[in-house]
Amino acid sequence: MGRWILHVDMDAFFAAVEQLDNPGLRGQPVIVGGLGPRGVVSTASYEARAFGVRSAMPMAKARRLCPQAAFLPPRFDRYEELAGRVREILSSYSPLVEPISLDEAFLDLTGTERLHGPLERVAAEIHRRIPAELGLPCSVGLAPNKLLAKLASEAAKPGGLHIVREEEVEGFLAPLPVDRLWGIGPQTTRRLAERGVHTVGDLRQVDASLLCSWFGPNAGAYLWRLARGVDDSPVVAVREAKSISQEVTYPEDLYREEAIAQELRRLALAVAGRLAEEGLLATTVRVKIRWSDFTTRTRQVRLPEPTDHPVLIADEAVVLWRRGEGHGEKGVRLLGVGLAGLVPATFRPLHLFASPRLTEAIHEVRSRYGPSSLSLGLDKGQEAR
C-alpha cells in the first residue's frame, strides 16, 4: 500500500503574520528581517516580491527596490505561537507531524482514511481550516512521499492545493527544472546542463549507468531515484534538535567587557528557555564570537552533567569568552550562545549550589510575561546560586 504525505507551507509566513496583526499593512508590501546596516530579508510579502524583493537579500538592497514597504523586525515568539497552532491542527489528523521550520511541516496521513475519509478531502479540509482558523494563507501538497509532497505544495503556491497521485508522478515531474529537486545544488545543475539535462524529464531519460559514470555510484543512484520521484524517507514525528543556539549581529561593535558579558547572559537565558520549552537538557555550551575584522571563533565546553539551568549556562558562556585569546582591542561584531549534546529531560541532576527552584521560577516568568521580561544581572566573579 502506498503512502500519503501532506506538506504544508505557510505563504510568506512572517510577513503574513505582521499583516494579520496589523490590518493597516494588508495589501501593502511588508518586509521582515534584520533592520540594522547588515540585516538581511527573512520574508517579503507577495506585494513586496512584485518589486523583486527576495528572502536572504541584503536589507539595504530591499530598501532600494521597495522603499515604500513596511520594514519590520521579526517577532519569533509570535511566529512560534502561530506555528504551534498550525501543528495542533495537523496533529488532529495524524500524530506523525514533522515540523521542518516555523512555516513548513510534513504530515503522514497513510492509513487514516478509515478515520477521516478520503485523503483528497482531508487535504482540502486542512487547506481550508488553516486560513479560516488562523487568518493566514497556506499552500498544501499531497503526494506519495515527502519529496513529491514538497514539490506539490510549491506548485500550489500561493494559497493553493495540489495533489500528485502515483500515476501522475511522471507527468508532474517532467517539466520541472532539475534544480527544484531536493539535493540538487548549483554545481550538479551546471554539470547536468553541460550534458543537455535541464528538466527532470531530461534526467529521467538518462541511463542509470551513465548517471553513475558522471557522478559516481552513490550520487548517480540518488539522481536516478530523484528523477522518478522515489523517496522513502519517513516522516519523523519529533525532529530531534541537534543543537539550540541564538546569535546576534550588533549594529555597532561591542567593546566594553561588561556589555559583552551582559549580552552573553541574555543569549544564555534565551537558549536555556528554549531548552526548557523543548524538554531537553544540554551537556555542551558553545560561544561564538565574531570580531570587527570578521575573525570568528567558537569555543565550547562539555559539562559534567546535562543541565538547563540558565545561571550555570550563562556562567560557562561568559568565562568561555573571557578565557579566550584576543579580545583586547578589537570590537565584537557578533555573539552567539549555543547548546549541544541535547538529551531529553527525563531526569534532572540536582546541583549543590544552583537551585532548581530558580530555573523553574525563571521559566515561569518567561512563559507568562515573554522572553524579554527577565535578564541575568550577575556581576563578574559572582557565583551561581
Binding site: 562539555r302 559539562l303 529531560a345 531526569f347
Partner: protein, 379 residues
C-alpha cells in the same frame, strides 16, 4: 663540576622531579632537569610553571655549580642504567659525561641561566601533618573536583585547603557532589585561619610523588603565592588558583534523619552491578527503603538495556520510608575510597542532598571524611 652519587639516589631524584617536566615546546628549558651541586650534595629540580619539584640527593661534589640536563632523555636513561655504582657526572663545555658501570653517555645540556627560578621557602612551615594523612586527604577529595575539560570556571577544578582550629580541611566538588576530609595538623598558631585553592590534578601528582617518599611527616609552607609541601628530601611547590571556592559548608546537610547503615563492600558491589543497567544519560540508580525495614532495594532501568534489582541488608532498620535516585558513579567514587566496614548514607527527602560517611568501627583512614551527593530527579 663533577658529581659522584649512588645509582639509586640518582634514579629516585630523576623519577621524582620528572613529574614536573613541562611538555611545552614553546619553552624548551622547561623540559630540563636542573642539577644544583653544592658541598652538601645535589639538588634536582624541574618545573612546568604550574608546579615545581625539587629533590635532594647525597653526592660527592667537586666544584659547585648548576647545569640543566634534558629531562626526557635522563628519565629514560635512569630506568635502564646498568646495576652498578657509583654514577659519575662530569660537566665540561656544554656537555655532560655520565658514566655508570661500563656505560657512558655524552649528554647535551640546556642553558642553565634560562631555567626559571625555583625557590625554597625561607619562613617556618605553616603546619605539619603525617604523610599518610596527607596522602589520604588527597585520595579522598581530589577525585571529586571538576576536570579542566568540564568547565571554564577554574574554581571547581581545585581542592580547597582550609586551615583552621588545629586542622586542615580538604574540600572538592564538581557542583553535584562534594568530598571533604578533615585531619588534625601540628603547629598551626591558635586563631590562624587560611585557605588555599590548589589544582586537583596537581594534588594528584603530589600524591604520586609523595607515595614514593619515606618520611613520617609533611611540612606545609605558604609563600610567594604558592603552597609548598616538604617531605624527606622532596619539596613540591604548587601555584594557587586565584578564584573564589564556593561556600561549601552551607550545602552540607546537617539534620538528615534517615540513616541507611550499610555494609560497605556489599553495597559497593551492588552499586557496580546496578550501574550496568542504569540509563545512559543519567547513570542513575534508585535506592528504596521502608520505615523500620531492614532491606535496601537498589535498582536501575534503562530504555536500551533493561533493568536490574538487588537487595542489600541494612545494619540497622531505616527510620522512615524513602525513595531516592543518585548517579551510581558518584556513590561508587566515594564508597570505594573508604576503608571502614560500614558506611551510612543520611537522607531526608528525594530532592535533598544525601550525606555519606563511615560508620560502625571507623578505619583510621576514614577519620574526618564526609561526602555530600545531590540526587537525580527522575521525571
Amino acid at each position: 663540576m663533577e658529581i659522584v652519587c649512588q645509582r639509586e639516589d640518582l634514579v629516585f631524584g630523576v623519577r621524582t622531579v620528572s613529574h614536573a617536566l613541562g611538555g611545552r615546546t614553546s619553552m624548551p628549558i622547561l623540559g630540563g632537569i636542573r642539577f644544583h651541586a653544592t658541598a652538601n650534595g645535589i639538588e634536582l629540580g624541574a618545573t612546568d610553571l604550574e608546579r615545581a619539584i625539587q629533590c635532594r640527593a647525597a653526592a660527592q661534589v667537586q666544584g659547585e655549580g648548576v647545569m640543566v640536563l634534558p629531562g626526557q632523555v635522563l628519565s629514560q636513561l635512569v630506568t635502564r642504567l646498568p646495576e652498578a655504582d657509583p654514577v659519575h657526572l662530569q660537566e665540561a663545555d656544554g656537555r655532560v659525561r655520565l658514566s655508570c658501570g661500563q656505560a657512558s653517555f655524552e649528554l647535551l645540556t640546556l642553558p642553565a641561566d634560562e631555567f626559571p627560578e625555583v625557590t625554597r621557602p625561607a619562613t617556618a612551615p605553616l603546619c605539619r601533618l603525617s604523610l599518610p594523612a596527607l596522602l589520604q586527604c588527597i585520595a579522598q577529595t581530589a577525585f571529586a573536583a571538576l576536570r579542566a575539560s568540564e568547565t571554564t570556571r577554574l574554581a571547581l577544578t581545585g581542592v580547597d585547603l582550609v586551615l583552621r582550629d588545629g586542622a586542615v580541611k580538604f574540600a572538592a566538588t564538581n557542583g553535584y557532589r562534594l568530598a571533604i576530609k578533615r585531619v588534625p595538623v601540628d603547629g598551626l598558631p591558635e586563631g590562624h585561619e587560611a585557605a588555599f585553592l590548589v589544582d586537583a590534578a596537581i594534588l594528584t601528582d603530589l600524591h604520586r610523588v609523595l607515595s614514593g617518599v619515606t618520611a613520617d611527616a609533611v611540612s606545609i609552607y605558604a609563600e610567594g603565592g604558592q603552597l609548598h609541601f616538604e617531605a624527606g628530601p622532596v619539596l613540591f611547590s604548587s601555584r594557587l588558583i586565584q578564584e573564589q571556592f564556593p561556600d561549601f559548608e552551607r550545602v552540607i546537610p546537617r539534620d538528615n534523619e534517615i540513616g541507611l547503615h550499610l555494609p560497605r563492600e556489599p553495597f559497593l558491589e551492588t552499586l557496580r552491578r546496578m550501574e550496568i543497567t542504569s540509563a545512559e544519560e543519567s547513570g542513575a540508580v534508585t535506592l528504596k527503603a521502608t520505615a523500620q525495614g531492614t532491606i535496601l532495594e537498589v535498582s536501575s532501568a534503562s530504555k536500551d538495556k533493561g533493568e536490574g534489582h538487588e537487595f542489600v541488608e541494612l545494619v540497622k532498620p531505616a527510620a522512615k520510608t524513602i525513595e531516592i535516585a543518585f548517579k551510581a558513579e558518584y556513590l561508587i567514587d566515594a564508597v570505594r575510597r573508604m576503608e571502614s566496614g560500614q558506611v551510612v548514607l543520611w537522607l531526608s527527602a528525594p530532592e535533598r542532598a544525601g550525606l555519606l560517611e563511615p560508620s560502625g568501627e571507623i578505619a583510621p583512614g576514614d577519620e574526618g571524611f564526609i561526602y555530600v551527593c545531590m540526587p537525580v530527579r527522575l521525571l
